[in-house]
């Protein structure tokens, strides 16, 4: 459970570490539409994975199957030893293993920043009010929101809201963090502050799976980059190779588009 590994930086991990997420042959259908086909992906503890690909390629679907916001229809997913078989306990357990940050922030509008962060620790981890508050303040400080904790989400800028959303997820102290395009809804000047928080998190050794098109972030932080298209993983490589020497034509075309 501890996220205290001290390994930093984007170097590939030397000795194989314990596996955090293992997806084998994962399939997902929306009705008849096949959104994921034959997804194989292994993420080890402390690794930072960046997933990119064109719109509609299934990136969100993939990341959402990991904490079972979307149930998968075939293959297996194992998260920190928990097999996602749809049983209520496995669903609950896996959600405690994974924190998630969404494109749209999804802060609870009727609760203050502090309440947003305290809700889950109080209910799910059964912390007392004092404990939950101390915890919330700790993580809000960490994302540099410590001074605005009494405000409501609508009173913060987009970048601030997203940082609160990160703090809210961290308050559950999950060993794995999932990010689904965390900066796509932000104005350019706010993207940096959110990416900075994510990089700090990466340096602390958090296991991270990020769907993002921030290529600078990917180069600096990612151990591996994964390129998806039409529900498949087309290419998977270390960050340098991924950008400097893409193999598949689809990735080349995609990179050409992204890096204009």
């Amino acid at each position: 459970m501890s996220a205290l590994q001290t390994e930093t930086g984007p170097q590939p991990v030397a000795a194989p570490r314990p596996i955090a997420v293992e997806m084998t042959g994962v399939e997902k259908y929306y009705g008849k539409f096949k959104a994921l086909s034959g997804i194989d992906l292994t993420v080890r503890k402390g690794e930072k994975i960046v997933i990119c690909g064109p719109s509609g390629s299934g990136k969100s679907t993939l990341i959402r199957t990991i904490n079972r916001l979307e149930p998968h229809d075939g293959g297996t997913i194992v998260v920190n030893g928990i097999t996602l078989d749809g049983s209520p306990t496995s669903v609950q357990d896996v959600r405690l293993e994974c924190g998630m940050v969404f494109q749209q922030f999804n802060l609870f509008p009727h609760l203050t920043i502090l309440e947003n962060c305290m809700l889950a620790p109080r209910l799910t981890r059964k912390l007392s009010k004092t404990q939950a508050e101390a915890l919330a303040l700790k993580y809000l400080e960490r994302v540099h929101i410590g001074a605005q904790t009494h405000k409501y989400p609508s009173q913060l800028s987009g970048g601030q809201q997203q940082r609160v959303a990160i703090a809210r997820a961290l308050c559950m102290e999950p060993p794995i963090m999932l990010f689904d395009e965390p900066t796509s809804a932000l104005d350019p000047e706010m993207i940096k502050e959110v990416l900075q928080v994510m990089e700090d998190l990466a340096e602390d050794g958090m296991t991270m799976i990020c769907v993002t098109h921030e290529m600078g972030f990917a180069r600096r932080v990612a151990n591996r980059c994964v390129f998806m298209d039409q529900g498949e993983i087309v290419e998977e490589a270390r960050a340098e190779e991924f950008f400097e020497a893409p193999k598949s034509d689809r990735l080349k075309a995609f990179l050409a588009q992204i890096l204009h």
Partner: protein
């Protein structure tokens, strides 16, 4: 005096009687609202349930009691059940033998049938992303309902609820047909005693008017309270260091969880119907869409 159709002396003298009638009207209103709210939520949950054993009876309930004319419904509850011998001799006769209790039952059935649509619409208006975020944090569906969906739905549904409460309060006048002496029944009695066609009715109308406006003000206050997260937006937005500091000092450090409780407990609704609609439409996109 003769230019006006109102006999002020009669109006003045009728005040104590009118007040008694008003108390009955109020009592019925409050009872139905108090019974109706939790029942509405329960029937709505049944209605929205995936299990047909729950959703079908709930749907049938709504279709039947929305369609049933209120007047006839009251007749049926009061006079109809009196025909059933087993009921007359049983312990439930305490309820079905009382016109007042029958009025409350009939009105509640009608009110709940209308409220189910209001509650359902409000629950559905809660953005899916918020429910997902809550689930992703490990909250159970029940906790998500209690702490996220219901409090937000309450805010979205407040305008429609106020409408229903006002309509229904005025509608309580029908209870006089089953011998309950409410405000309208008092006015009617006075009319029959005095043959003054205007004074008692207009006096009663004034009472209703005051009642409805008291409801309106109550809802206004409640809406202000529930939507404080939006209202403060304008006040705090220019984040000068001074403003931030002042605001930071304002709530006691321990505030976070207590307001949550309060929100879940409360229910009535504010603000005039006209103002409520924009409040709903600005609230949702503004907060969730960014």
């Amino acid at each position: 005096m003769s230019a006006l159709p109102i006999d002020f002396a009669l109006a003045w003298d009728s005040l104590p009687q009118m007040a008694e009638g008003l108390v009955t009207t109020l009592l019925i209103t409050v009872l139905v609202l108090v019974l109706g709210l939790p029942l509405s939520v329960l029937v709505t949950l049944a209605r929205m349930s995936r299990s047909r054993i729950l959703s079908w009876p709930a749907a049938a309930f709504v279709v039947f009691f929305r369609g049933a004319p209120l007047l006839i419904l009251l007749y049926l509850v009061y006079y109809g059940f009196g025909q059933i011998e087993a009921l007359r001799d049983g312990p439930l006769w305490v309820i079905f033998g009382s016109a007042f209790a029958c009025a409350v039952i009939g009105l509640t059935l009608n009110h709940v049938a209308y409220m189910v649509e209001v509650v359902r619409g409000s629950l559905n208006a809660v953005p899916a992303g918020l429910v997902e975020a809550s689930a992703a944090l490990g909250l159970t569906p029940r906790e998500t309902f209690t702490y996220i969906r219901l409090p937000l739905a309450m805010r979205y549904g407040l305008a429609a609820y106020q409408n229903e409460v006002v309509m229904f309060t005025k509608g309580t006048a029908v209870v006089s047909v089953i011998t309950v002496i409410d405000l309208t029944a008092v006015a009617n009695e006075l009319f029959e005693e005095t043959y003054d066609p205007f004074t008692p009715m207009l006096t009663a109308a004034a009472f209703y008017w005051c009642l409805v406006n008291a409801i309106r003000l109550g809802f206004g206050a409640l809406e202000n309270h529930l939507n404080r997260h939006q209202r403060r937006e304008q006040a705090v937005k220019p984040t000068t260091p001074a403003g931030a500091a002042a605001a930071a000092a304002e709530p006691p450090a321990g505030a976070p969880v207590a307001p949550l409780r309060r929100m879940i407990g409360s229910d009535r609704r504010p603000v005039p119907v006209k103002a409520a609609a924009p409040a709903l439409s600005t609230a949702t996109p503004k907060e969730h869409a960014l």
